[in-house]
């Protein structure tokens, strides 16, 4: 039996903090470069993603989250901003393998193969909202916790061996 198009693995050690406010101020408070529109800027273990003109998402190792929430809240004190820990609201999967782009292309209305590094796409996969960006060897997909089982199932279904999108 041929290999699956990609390995689908749940990721459970990520923290995520939703930040609303002035993006430059948020980046400043996070000590990160401000991401470009639709971009995701990575610095060491942390990434800061552009979610909307007034919303960013800080992605970091889970154990650092409570401290980061506190620090960001403090740093943004006095400004119009909102800091919320959303780590537990999410389900995260890594899609790694040579056919990873095919798996994404079966589920999201996105030109996955052409998606550049450093770009975060807010989209949907089949019937659920997701965000997708490139990581080493494939893609990282975040969705909502309540539909995590569904997201894992459709990703595995899309990755079945022999179902690559290359013309046959």
């Amino acid at each position: 039996m041929a290999e699956h198009l990609a390995r689908i693995s749940p990721v459970t050690d990520l923290g995520m903090i939703a930040l609303r406010g002035d993006l430059a101020a948020i980046a400043d408070a996070a000590g990160m470069a401000a991401p470009d529109r639709t971009g995701i800027a990575t610095d060491g273990p942390r990434s800061l993603a552009w979610m909307s003109p007034d919303e960013a998402l800080l992605i970091l190792p889970a154990p650092q989250t409570p401290e980061a929430v506190e620090a960001l809240t403090l740093a943004l004190d006095g400004q119009h901003a909102l800091v919320a820990d959303v780590s537990d609201a999410r389900a995260v999967f890594d899609v790694i393998g040579p056919g990873a782009a095919d798996v994404i292309a079966k589920l999201a209305p996105v030109d996955a193969a052409a998606m550049p590094q450093g770009h975060l796409r807010r989209t949907r996969m089949a019937q659920v909202a997701t965000a997708i960006w490139r990581i080493e060897g494939g893609f990282r997909v975040i969705g909502f916790r309540s539909t995590g089982d569904y997201l894992g199932l459709i990703l595995r279904n899309a990755a079945i061996a022999g179902s690559g999108l290359a013309p046959r």
């Binding site: 659920v128 539909t147 079945i160």
Partner: protein
């Protein structure tokens, strides 16, 4: 002459592998074909010309075409869950072990009882059903329709679930070329030369279309193009992929066959492509038209192009002796290919007065007789062709001679495949010189920028000789819509236009006489073009006949509408992966697995599954609900409330915003306190409710109903982004960040205090409608002292990942207190006992808070809130609006939910005038009697009066109007 059935030629057949024999079954018979065969060619090779029966008259039918346009050779394919009806034998590749069966015949294809319809055909003209079965009126529904339905339809629907896999994929390309014939491949090469991505879709497994068959050197030309294309970057060549529809904005749907009829591969059977194309080039070729002569449907009469396909591609001959009938030069190619294959070509019957071109000359050079100005008066034979009777085309059908033959190759000219071009608005123009509709380049389907998104090339554009240097000059086609030109009724009544639906020339003419001047009406009246082939062969001939009958030019008649899909798509392909567990995303709370393990009986709430109740042992749901309620009222219970919406609203203008969102005053809520709030839409109607907690000076937390979380968040953002864009307010939907557990019952505090937390839960420290933050059992928690059950109650929010941990700790610690998980139904009943309203029960989108006696939750001080002005409309302040009351059933029976109270009066329609309805109704385990709420005209002013609720059975239930609070009116239980 002895009739020769179809057979495999000793040589030839470019697609078949004679060394690889494949066994298959047809109507139970074991047959053998070759790898590379289609089902049609394999059946022909086995001498089987008859492959089905027509829909209405059950006439014997063989394949008339060799491709997607085939109307006759439709088979039932596969077994069990893989059975598929109406599969075209001409486009289905033969797979070893295939099981096929003929359709629309009983008891068998050879001896079909329904064929009696054919003898009755003079009695079954167009509109027969409409005219015959209209009287007496009730008979249609009860007698005629059931009988007709049983005999209608071609194949039978499968009864088992389809076990195959299907999937979809999204594609993107600057240019998509549909059709891998010579025109498509050339267009793709041109497009790719300009850079950008180019995708070529070919519906068949082979590239080149007709070119390799029709032109010497054709295959070499195609191979050269493919070599070029494969070397170009950005080019994708995809076979077995049929473009089924083109939609707005260059959205192209295509179906790729991956493992059709071959489940052993273990991969998805078909894939639905959803392609965003910058530009679409339709190189979809053209379809040959039949000629309308009498008995043009006898098995063995086929399109000239189809006959040479079978000979050239599959090495299959339709018979030994062939007659070609045509109005153009192209069909002469069939004579040449047949002669090359060693078959006898008895004659060419050419309707044109002369045929002097290159191809006719080449045929004459072979010694084949060419009869110009001639026509077929009639095909002789019933199950197979025995002979053709020849007459003058310009006449009434007087037979001049008879030519014996086994098969007839006919060509009435060609029609460009304009479907995709037309699907999203491209217009056609009538090409008088070639007698065909082709895409009008000045009126293409338009994109968002007003530019055309589709362009037709090659034969699809009416350029029938598009193979460049490979072409030989051809003489003009002469339009022939009826053969012979002045055929009498008797002949026209046997000229088939639509083979599958048995529509003949006389049917269309009858429709015209009966006033069906519009081609769309004629189509529906006669069923012309309404079969599974959607008129691919019959449309042009039919509308030409209609034009003749209406005595108007063809473009004045126009075409019917081309609609996707081009050929039928199996529903499974459209559903793709969305089946079984992946049918719909199920939302699960952090405690979902626990509920499942405890045997929860589920209730769908939006996409969530919530425990309705937890039946134990032999207990039914009703008993479980009663047990759960009593456990809460007497001890303590837990409810998984994680699905409730939790939206944070923060900012300098958040107070002002909250005052607009809710009918209550929320800006004055003190930090640390909670308030029950109502949300209305602009029309004043109640849309959601929930408890609001003030978290800090500039932050509020809004709880919404389970179904309302996303909707209310969107509602808030809508107002903030579109109306109050200058207000400094941010919102965040944190619904899934927290698990929330309601702990309710007189023992609730006792239980929580056992868990060792940092929060003082005493009534003084945490009074009703207060909240506090800290930790509980080592878990960071926010505890709200709110109650939807009327009992002492705490709702505890913890990070979702720790929800199950807290839930289990509660159950461990509360075992001796009789802690009981309760479901949504217990919650519903308990709130009804307390007279609390429920969004969706007491409200239905037409209810304002004032109807529900919630005036106390509507601020009189605020200048405005969403819905305020609407609630001042005359109808909203009308004193006769139905208002909320309690209803006490007089006989101890539970009132049916939704039952209407009726007065003695009768309205203009003879119906009883209603004066109220039941909105919630339960048997209360707490009170051991029914409780109900309802909306009643002047309700609150009519306490003690008795209402009558007529039942469908004729019985009348009676209920007294009472206060809606049935239990603990003083609210003393809130404090435990």
């Amino acid at each position: 002459m002895t009739h020769v059935p179809p057979f495999r030629l000793p040589r030839g057949g470019r697609l078949i592998d004679r060394s690889d024999q494949l066994g298959f079954r047809f109507d139970g018979r074991h047959l053998r074909g070759l790898r590379g065969d289609t089902l049609a060619s394999a059946l022909l090779a086995n001498g089987q010309m008859m492959m089905g029966r027509s829909f209405k008259y059950h006439r014997p039918r063989g394949p008339v075409a060799s491709g997607a346009e085939e109307p006759n050779a439709l088979l039932g394919l596969g077994q069990g869950g893989r059975f598929e009806p109406n599969q075209r034998a001409t486009t289905t590749a033969l797979v070893p072990g295939m099981v096929t069966r003929s359709q629309n015949c009983w008891p068998s294809l050879d001896a079909d009882i329904g064929a009696v319809n054919d003898w009755l055909s003079p009695l079954l003209p167009a509109g027969f059903y409409y005219k015959t079965f209209i009287h007496p009126r009730p008979f249609w529904k009860h007698v005629f329709e059931p009988v007709i339905r049983r005999s209608a339809g071609l194949g039978k629907a499968p009864t088992d679930p389809d076990p195959d896999l299907y999937e979809q994929a999204y594609g993107f390309a600057d240019v998509v070329v549909v059709g891998g014939g010579i025109a498509g491949l050339q267009a793709a090469r041109d497009a790719a030369a300009g850079g950008g991505s180019v995708t070529v879709l070919e519906q068949s497994p082979h590239w080149g279309g007709r070119t390799p068959i029709d032109h010497a050197g054709g295959q070499d030309a195609i191979d050269a193009l493919l070599t070029d294309l494969r070397a170009m970057p950005g080019v994708t060549l995809r076979r077995n992929c049929m473009a089924t529809g083109l939609y707005d904005h260059g959205y192209l749907i295509a179906r790729e066959a991956l493992a059709d009829h071959d489940p052993n591969q273990g991969i998805p059977r078909q894939r639905l492509w959803r392609i965003r194309a910058g530009r679409v080039i339709t190189a979809t070729g053209a379809l040959e038209r039949p000629l309308s002569f009498a008995c043009n449907d006898v098995p063995g009469v086929m399109l000239a192009s189809a006959m040479r396909d079978f000979i050239d591609l599959h090495g299959v001959a339709p018979g030994q002796r062939i007659v070609v009938v045509t109005n153009n030069d192209d069909a002469y190619r069939t004579a040449l290919i047949a002669a090359d294959a060693g078959l006898d070509v008895a004659a060419i019957v050419d309707a044109r007065p002369q045929a002097t071109g290159d191809l006719p000359q080449a045929v004459r050079d072979r010694g084949i007789e060419v009869l110009t100005g001639s026509a077929i008066a009639k095909v002789k034979g019933r199950r197979h062709v025995e002979a053709v009777a020849i007459c003058d085309q310009d006449g009434e059908g007087k037979i001049t001679r008879t030519v014996e033959c086994d098969a007839v190759a006919m060509s009435g000219g060609w029609s460009p495949v304009v479907h995709l071009y037309s699907h999203c608005g491209g217009k056609l123009t009538w090409d008088d010189a070639q007698a065909l509709f082709r895409p009008d380049p000045d009126r293409p389907p338009l994109g968002a920028d007003g530019q055309g998104i589709a362009q037709a090339v090659g034969a699809a554009n009416g350029d029938l000789c598009c193979a460049g240097d490979l072409e030989r000059p051809e003489g003009a086609t002469m339009p022939v819509w009826v053969m012979p030109a002045r055929a009498p009724h008797k002949l026209r009544a046997k000229m088939w236009l639509d083979y599958q639906n048995d529509v003949k020339v006389t049917d269309v003419e009858l429709a015209a006489r009966e006033g069906y001047a519009s081609v769309e009406h004629t189509k529906r009246y006669t069923t012309l073009g309404m079969a599974t082939d959607q008129g691919k062969l019959s449309n042009i001939n039919g509308l030409a006949v209609l034009s003749g009958a209406l005595d108007q030019p063809i473009p004045a008649t126009g075409t019917t509408t081309f609609r996707p899909p081009y050929t039928p798509l199996t529903l499974a392909t459209i559903a793709a992966d969305a089946r079984g567990e992946a049918f719909q995303p199920l939302r699960k709370t952090p405690m979902h697995g626990w509920h499942e393990a405890k045997g929860a009986s589920w209730e769908p709430v939006g996409h969530w599954r919530r425990p309705y109740a937890y039946p134990q042992g032999a207990e039914d749901r009703e008993a479980a609900v009663a047990r759960e309620i009593l456990a809460v009222r007497k001890g303590v219970g837990t409810l998984d409330a994680s699905t409730l919406g939790k939206i944070v609203v923060k900012g300098p203008d958040a107070g002002r915003f909250m005052d607009m969102m809710y009918t209550n005053m929320m800006s004055t809520l003190k930090v640390g306190r909670c308030r029950y709030g109502l949300m209305c839409n602009e029309n004043g109607f109640l849309m959601d409710d929930g408890v609001v907690a003030r978290l800090s000076d500039d932050t509020w937390l809004c709880h919404t109903t389970t179904g309302g979380a996303d909707r209310i968040h969107a509602h808030m953002e809508d107002w903030l982004q579109c109306e109050w864009w200058d207000w400094k307010v941010f919102t965040a939907n944190l619904t899934e960040q927290y698990a929330q557990i309601a702990v309710a019952g007189p023992q609730a505090r006792t239980l929580l205090e056992r868990l060792n937390g940092s929060i003082d839960l005493s009534a003084d420290a945490l009074p009703f409608m207060a909240w506090a933050e800290g930790d509980l059992a080592g878990i960071p928690a926010r505890i709200f002292r709110i109650s939807f059950s009327g009992e002492l109650s705490f709702e505890i929010a913890v990070p979702a990942a720790r929800g199950l941990e807290l839930w289990e700790k509660l159950h461990d610690a509360g075992a001796d207190l009789g802690i009981t998980p309760y479901g949504t139904e217990a919650m519903h009943v308990m709130r009804a006992e307390k007279g609390f309203i429920m969004i969706g029960d007491e409200t239905d989108g037409t209810i304002i808070p004032q109807d529900l006696g919630l005036d106390w939750a509507i601020s009189k001080k605020k200048a405005d809130y969403i819905g305020k002005r609407a609630q001042r409309r005359l109808h909203m302040v009308d004193g006769t609006r139905w208002k909320l009351v309690g209803l006490q059933s007089l006989d101890g029976q539970v009132l049916p939910d939704g039952a209407y109270a009726a007065t003695d009066q009768v309205n203009a329609n003879g119906q009883r005038v209603t004066e109220g309805r039941v909105t919630s109704s339960y048997r209360s385990p707490t009170l051991d009697r029914p409780v109900a709420m309802g909306l009643v005209r002047h309700g609150p002013a009519r306490m003690g009066q008795v209402l009558e609720f007529p039942m469908p059975s004729g019985a009348v239930m009676k209920a007294r109007i009472v206060d809606p609070v049935f239990y603990d009116k003083e609210g003393s239980r809130l404090n435990g």
